[in-house]
């Protein structure tokens, strides 16, 4: 665990402790399970976002993809497509979106911000057009027991979204921090030119990052669709990309690429949900929600950079001492 992660974990525990002191309901099983569910849902696409950010890219279409694929998923099931087939189609569509973004960025040399900003607009617009700006939902009384149990069910009180999040997090941690591919992701993000000079196929690495991101977003889209059970395409998933970026940045990912840890982004997600919970439990007007979140992120980032500067200065002083200060 990196020192940064440790700092964030301390913050998560401290905030939790304070909230629990003021309102003991924070630790009630109902509240914990609900929060865990939200952490799971938001965590899935935050990890997705992290894979792109580590390559010095950005993915702004996450929320719109969640809306578009959510609409399609619900509509397919409502119209009798067996849900495993519908799920596979949604995942495949995710992969296609990722490939498209990766291709535009690496082959046509467009900037990730521009490509995914256009994606944000296009997918949202398509989703709204598809339902004629209506709501996609199930017919009254319809139920899909297996799917519902898998996605929104609980085992020993633990919501399955949280289980899925944990599973994805462990897998992502392994890929990013223990495999050659993960090392290449960091390398491409930190210095694409040096990565090419080291024989890394930088284009393939970058495209893979966008595909992983989009497929994970598709998984997240299924979870969200079943959680809300009806998708209003004009508002479903709005701003989620920014939420994912915020969690990643809190977790130590640099938008310049090549830095960050999966433990960090997970802690980032937990902290953001904890803050949301804090606003609810402490009776802070919910209109202040975003303001609280923004302030904490800003504070965290400032603390982080200041701490970094302090450490660099200390290291410099150490080398200076070891070199022997002239006179």
């Amino acid at each position: 665990m990196l020192r940064k992660d440790l700092g964030l974990a301390t913050l998560v525990v401290t905030v939790g402790f304070v909230v629990a002191l003021i309102n003991p309901r924070f630790l009630s099983p109902v509240n914990l399970a609900n929060t865990a569910n939200l952490i799971g849902l938001f965590g899935l696409f935050s990890i997705a976002e992290a894979f792109v950010i580590v390559t010095a890219g950005i993915e702004l279409s996450v929320g719109s993809v969640i809306a578009l694929l959510g609409v399609l998923f619900i509509d397919m099931i409502a119209n009798g497509v067996p849900w495993p087939v519908a799920a596979l189609i949604v995942l495949a569509l995710g992969a296609v979106i990722g490939l498209l973004h990766g291709w535009l960025i690496t082959r046509l040399r467009l900037q990730p911000f521009v490509v995914t900003l256009c994606g944000l607009l296009i997918y949202r617009g398509t989703a709204r057009f598809y339902t004629a700006d209506g709501t996609a939902g199930f017919k009254f009384g319809s139920s899909f027991p297996t799917l519902e149990w898998l996605v929104t069910g609980r085992t020993w009180g633990v919501p399955h979204s949280a289980v899925a999040f944990l599973f994805v997090a462990v897998l992502a941690w392994f890929v990013l921090h223990r495999t050659v591919f993960g090392r290449h992701l960091f390398a491409v993000g930190k210095n694409e030119e040096a990565a090419r000079y080291s024989g890394i196929n930088t284009r393939r690495v970058i495209v893979s990052a966008y595909v992983i991101c989009a497929v994970l977003t598709a998984v997240s889209a299924i979870f969200f669709a079943m959680y809300t059970r009806s998708v209003q395409p004009s508002s479903h998933g709005n701003f989620y990309e920014l939420y994912g970026i915020a969690a990643a940045v809190l977790g130590g990912f640099s938008l310049r690429g090549g830095e960050g840890s999966i433990v960090g982004v997970c802690l980032g997600v937990i902290l953001l949900q904890e803050l949301q919970n804090l606003v609810n439990l402490l009776g802070i007007p919910s209109s202040l929600n975003f303001a609280v979140m923004g302030s904490v992120i800003l504070f965290g980032v400032i603390a982080d950079t200041q701490f970094d500067r302090y450490r660099t200065a200390k290291r410099h002083a150490a080398t200076r001492a070891s070199l022997g200060k002239p006179r």
Partner: protein, 500 residues
């Protein structure tokens, strides 16, 4: 401020600058007055650039003082440096290619007219033209910068410095991309400036230029003053000895290598930069082939094309009689080619990554099973590289950024040696590293050649090319203008081919 009426009087007193892992300047003193040309010489990494940046206000020294016109400063700001009339001609050319010549020369000092401060193009061009004439430039104020040759871009940089009526002009290797006649022209301009009461600090590797124009020479070695020479004492051998601090011959301990079987055959290779100049070249196992020429002669382009970085327009490359697939770094590495690139920091290293991560980067595939990295093997490789190349590092897990230039270069070398290459291309291998590390790098190259590795060394350092290579191919404007063997190797012979 006019130089003639108010000549500059500048002194650096015991200036010290320390970087993580290295002392760039240690109690360096230097003085210069109006009407004086001072040559500043020293090996790469001796501290010349740092000193220059201290004068320009972009680096604040850790100790010492800068006394300008009798006033003492702990550090200058860039604004103060400009106010003092200090102008730079940088070695690296960064013209604004979206502006024309006039726009570049008067950037930030545009002449305005009228109520709304419209830019007065005519007045600006009238101001720039005499400067260009004085420099003997072959371009006009309205020419776009995009089409200018490297030499012309260099003249443009000089024009920029002249346009500010500087009291001190600092020239940083201004002639490295100029032809002989252009160089002569520049030296005349330097003499003119001296007559006008301007102080000129002339940084160069070409010692004969110093012999021609300098009134005094300040020698730096390893960040310290290595001595001053007055006009009468200036002489080539003396300067070299002071720069290197030992006999040069001991630095280059060349052994004759038995050229083995041909390993690399380049046939009619055409690069993007010089599509009209096909290059044909053969390389044998166990030889060190120097690739000499001026900056921009197309040497790096050949290296990049061989290594699969740049697309190739035509021609073939055979490694041990097998055709090398083009435009694939992975294929080049698989064929046994390694490249130690020119820009160590941008192309060779991941500065923020650990030394260990840097060394293992190309060999990860071999140190993993089913994609999972074997971290023990990785660390063992780093450890054995440290011993083999005597990399001086506090910890192998520390960032590569904190190493000195020489040790950084060893890390780049280590990452390729781990791949056991048959061919290594070194592009300016000793740029910016100290003398001791240089000797080690040469030693390593010799040892590799002894073991049958074929080596290409691209270098702009004549002494290095002559001292290390078994054979030298000289390039000019994308073509190989000649290949010199041991007996024919002289600086004059190389230069003649380089400007052909």
């Amino acid at each position: 401020m006019n130089a003639t009426t108010n000549p500059i009087d500048l002194r650096l007193e015991d200036v010290t600058k320390i970087y993580p892992g290295a002392i760039a300047l240690s109690e360096v003193s230097l003085s210069i007055r109006g009407g004086e040309v001072v040559g500043l010489i020293g090996e790469n990494g001796a501290g010349k650039s740092t000193l220059m940046n201290v004068l320009g206000g972009t680096i604040a020294p850790d100790a010492g003082a800068i006394v300008a016109d009798g006033q003492s400063h702990a550090a200058l700001t860039p604004a103060q440096a400009i106010e003092l009339g200090i102008a730079f001609v940088h070695q690296e050319l960064n013209p604004f290619t979206n502006l024309d010549v006039t726009g570049n020369v008067l950037l930030g000092r545009e002449i305005r007219t009228g109520l709304f401060g419209r830019i007065d193009r005519t007045a600006m061009e009238q101001r720039v033209q005499p400067i260009l004439t004085r420099l003997g430039a072959r371009f006009s104020p309205r020419d776009p910068v995009l089409g200018l040759s490297l030499a012309d871009q260099q003249l443009l940089e000089i024009a920029k410095a002249l346009a500010v009526d500087a009291r001190l002009v600092i020239l940083d290797e201004p002639t490295s991309s100029l032809t002989l006649s252009e160089t002569q022209r520049l030296l005349e301009v330097v003499t003119d400036l001296r007559r006008e009461g301007v102080a000129v600090l002339f940084i160069t590797h070409r010692l004969n230029e110093i012999e021609q124009v300098a009134d005094r020479v300040v020698v730096l070695r390893d960040g310290k003053n290595a001595g001053d020479l007055g006009r009468a004492e200036i002489g080539r051998d003396r300067m070299v000895q002071m720069m290197v601090g030992r006999d040069v011959k001991r630095l280059y301990q060349r052994k004759a290598h038995e050229a083995g079987a041909p390993v690399l055959q380049i046939t009619d290779l055409r690069t993007q930069t010089y599509p009209e100049s096909p290059v044909t070249l053969a390389l044998h196992g166990g030889e060190i082939l120097g690739l000499a020429g001026l900056v921009g002669a197309g040497r790096t382009e050949i290296a990049r094309a061989l290594f699969g970085i740049d697309p190739v327009l035509g021609g073939t490359v055979h490694v041990r009689d097998r055709l090398l697939p083009q435009n694939s770094v992975a294929a080049a590495i698989a064929a046994g080619i390694s490249l130690v690139p020119e820009d160590r920091k941008a192309q060779g290293l991941f500065l923020e990554f650990s030394i260990s991560d840097n060394i293992s980067m190309p060999s990860l595939a071999r140190m993993s099973s089913r994609g999972r990295i074997n971290r023990k093997a990785e660390l063992a490789l780093a450890e054995s590289s440290r011993n083999r190349l005597s990399i001086k590092a506090a910890s192998l897990r520390g960032p590569a950024a904190e190493l000195s230039g020489g040790n950084q270069q060893k890390v780049v070398l280590a990452k390729w040696l781990a791949m056991e290459p048959a061919i290594i291309i070194f592009d300016e291998p000793t740029r910016g590293i100290d003398v001791g590390a240089k000797a080690e790098v040469y030693g390593l190259m010799q040892a590799l050649a002894d073991r049958g590795v074929a080596i290409v060394m691209i270098s702009s350092d004549m002494e290095e090319v002559i001292g290390v290579s078994d054979r030298v191919a000289v390039m000019s404007k994308g073509r190989i203008t000649g290949i010199l063997n041991q007996e024919q190797l002289t600086e004059e012979a190389i230069l003649r081919l380089a400007v052909e």
